[in-house]
């Protein structure tokens, strides 16, 4: 534990111990720190267990704020702009996001885990790819690009991976509606499958509530 702290202390923004050691790093030092962790004889973080992105834009924002009872059901308390969008007439801003890329490393030799978080500035979603350090990063980075739009510099095959061929948008950003933007159906007149805007009404069954004890 202390070894990690000693090794990284000059290079990191923050050091937290929760379920595992969590360090917050700057983008410019990310690869240097990963190399340090991988090559240090006492640590040997040789395996990238997981890589994912998170959109922090709605962190800590609750949807449910009404205090009095009414008779109109749950929707009364939900702010229309809070979680993706409730109504399709709502304007959404596609630039609304706060992305963070998170790496989980495992040291099989020393039986240690570490989490590395790297926050991205909205002005540049480019982050260095770690595929040259960890072969496992290949698909994880494609996934993070596909779902969140993080661009990994140095990845030599940054294609979409999980969404459909020709998909538009990055669906796991918080502002992307849960029901999606388009739906497909077979059109008998044109005799082909067509894409059109969704016509189902998004609804919230259980609002997001934050209760402070």
């Amino acid at each position: 534990m202390n070894k990690i702290r000693e090794l990284l202390t000059d290079h990191i923004v923050d050091y937290i111990e929760t379920d595992m050691i969590t360090v917050i790093v700057e983008k410019s030092k990310l690869k240097m720190i990963l190399t340090l962790l991988k090559e240090d004889k006492n640590l040997q973080f040789t395996q990238l267990i997981d890589l994912c992105a998170v959109d922090y834009i709605e962190y800590g924002k609750s949807e449910w704020q009404t205090r009095e009872a009414t008779s109109t059901g749950y929707n009364r308390g939900i702010k229309p702009t809070s979680h993706s969008r409730i109504d399709f007439s709502d304007e959404t801003d596609d630039d609304d996001y706060e992305l963070c890329v998170i790496y989980h490393l495992l040291s099989i030799k020393k039986n240690l885990r570490i989490r590395i978080k790297c926050f991205l500035d909205n002005s540049s979603l480019i982050i260095p790819s770690v595929t040259d350090l960890y072969a496992a990063a290949d698909w994880y980075e494609r996934e993070a690009y596909d779902l969140f739009g993080v661009l990994f510099e140095g990845h030599n095959d940054l294609r979409r991976i999980l969404t459909d061929y020709g998909f538009i948008g990055h669906p796991f950003r918080k502002k992307f509606p849960l029901v999606g933007n388009t739906q497909v159906r077979y059109d008998p007149e044109q005799r082909k499958v067509i894409n059109e805007p969704v016509d189902i009404n998004p609804r919230t069954l259980v609002p997001k509530v934050i209760r402070k004890k």
């Binding site: 929760t18 267990i49 998170v54 989980h104 099989i108 039986n111 999980l162 919230t204 934050i210």
Partner: protein
């Protein structure tokens, strides 16, 4: 001789050996693979995004549908994550029940893998044998949860029901006469634990049967020995876990190295391969089934002597007894709140993982203090495994791709999520 050029071939997504909806774009030089590009996502359901819109308990059912042949292990990682953020202690009995069902799940998964893998490369009968035993284990699932596959049995705080005292029996029907029904019911007279015990007593002999069919089988060896060899260093670099990593000779098992629940009190061994080929991974998984049987036996013995609680009595998280709800106002309120709004977790984040049959199944959960996950990342073991298909298949023949898909134990529910 005319000049041959490489050609591109499409494999799947509707190929029976693709184990689901895998589409491969293969670049072939004659019958030799030059590169393989898996196209995944045909089963993408955005489970992680759906989970962000539902209270914690309503997501347990989604976990079953990830790796749909090792259902309870997925639930396990999810409830562990919630319990970890809440710092919730659960009753000892529920730990044993969970471990027992984790191991039942491991056998279920490996039996399906064995049957499908053997079927893919030409051994029909193993499939039928494997499914005979799977049937009994699915009955165990059904006895505790009411469903044969998607159990939703684990809950934060324990499990949803205690083990039943009576094992459900076959009833007389138009396809079976009384003698046949009685024969099917011979080990169902007692409780569920009696039934599991009788299964475990005969199961090692069943594994011997499968091994008889395959282990020294010449065709089986020709199809698996030396196919898809991965060195230990590459296996780590590629993010392999579970039998894929152990097949390459690295002794790494979360049940031993980072034990959760009561694994540290149990006796079992970790089988490890030496060559890192498909045959070694086969041997590792076969041995794992025997070890799982040992673990289940120990859990059975413990559970038989215990009468403790099966779920936490913290009614903010676990529902109160149904009978109490009729009498007690407080129980009714707890019940109503739990099933409408759910419960709020403290602010925090955690990565909880279990040794699922396929490898390390992890849940990275971020909570912002709400009644729903802020972000739920599912770390599926199959995802990095399939990512290595290109490397593993390169230079092999087309028919070996089928072996490699089989040995990776691919299930699309967890890869596409």
């Amino acid at each position: 001789m005319s000049d041959y050029k490489n050609f591109t071939m499409n494999f799947g997504p509707q190929h029976p050996a693709a184990h689901g909806v895998l589409r491969l774009i293969l670049e072939m030089d004659g019958e030799v693979i030059r590169s393989a590009d898996p196209h995944i996502g045909l089963l993408h359901r955005a489970t992680e995004k759906l989970a962000e819109s539902k209270p914690y308990n309503q997501n347990i059912g989604y976990m079953d549908r990830l790796d749909y042949v090792s259902m309870m292990c997925n639930e396990h990682a999810y409830v562990l994550a919630i319990e970890d953020i809440m710092k919730l202690d659960i009753p000892e009995r529920s730990k044993y029940i969970r471990v027992m069902f984790d191991e039942i799940t491991r056998i279920l998964n490996h039996l399906l893998w064995l049957g499908a893998h053997a079927l893919d490369i030409g051994a029909m009968s193993v499939f039928l044998y494997a499914f005979r035993e799977r049937e009994d284990l699915m009955d165990c699932y059904e006895a505790v949860s009411g469903t044969r596959m998607h159990a939703t049995y684990y809950r934060p705080g324990g499990v949803s029901k205690d083990l039943p005292n009576v094992m459900p029996k076959y009833m007389l029907n138009k396809n079976q006469n009384l003698d046949q029904v009685e024969k099917l019911n011979y080990n169902r007279e007692g409780s569920l634990l009696d039934f599991i015990e009788s299964f475990i007593d005969r199961f090692p002999k069943n594994v011997d049967e499968y091994e008889n069919l395959l282990t020294d089988n010449r065709i089986w060896k020709q199809r698996t020995v030396g196919i898809g060899v991965v060195s230990p260093e590459r296996a780590v670099d590629l993010g392999f876990t579970g039998p894929m990593l152990r097949g390459s000779g690295i002794e790494w098992d979360l049940r031993k190295k980072q034990p959760y629940e009561i694994y540290k009190d149990l006796e079992f061994d970790i089988p490890v391969g030496t060559e890192g080929d498909s045959y070694d991974r086969y041997l590792v998984r076969m041995q794992e089934m025997r070890e799982s049987a040992r673990i289940i036996k120990q859990c059975c013995n413990w559970l038989k002597t215990d009468n403790g609680e099966y779920i936490s009595s913290n009614y903010k998280i676990a529902p109160p007894d149904r009978d109490d709800m009729k009498e007690s106002m407080e129980s009714l309120i707890h019940h109503f709140k739990l099933f409408s709004e759910g419960y709020c977790l403290p602010v925090g984040e955690t990565y909880a993982c279990v040794e699922a049959p396929k490898g390390e199944f992890g849940i990275y959960l971020i909570s912002d203090g709400a009644n729903k996950p802020y972000r739920l990342k599912i770390r599926a073991p199959g995802f990095p495994h399939l990512a290595s298909l290109d490397e593993m298949a390169k230079g092999h023949m087309l028919s070996d791709v089928v072996t490699i898909i089989g040995t990776q134990d691919i299930v699309f529910g967890e890869i596409d999520r």
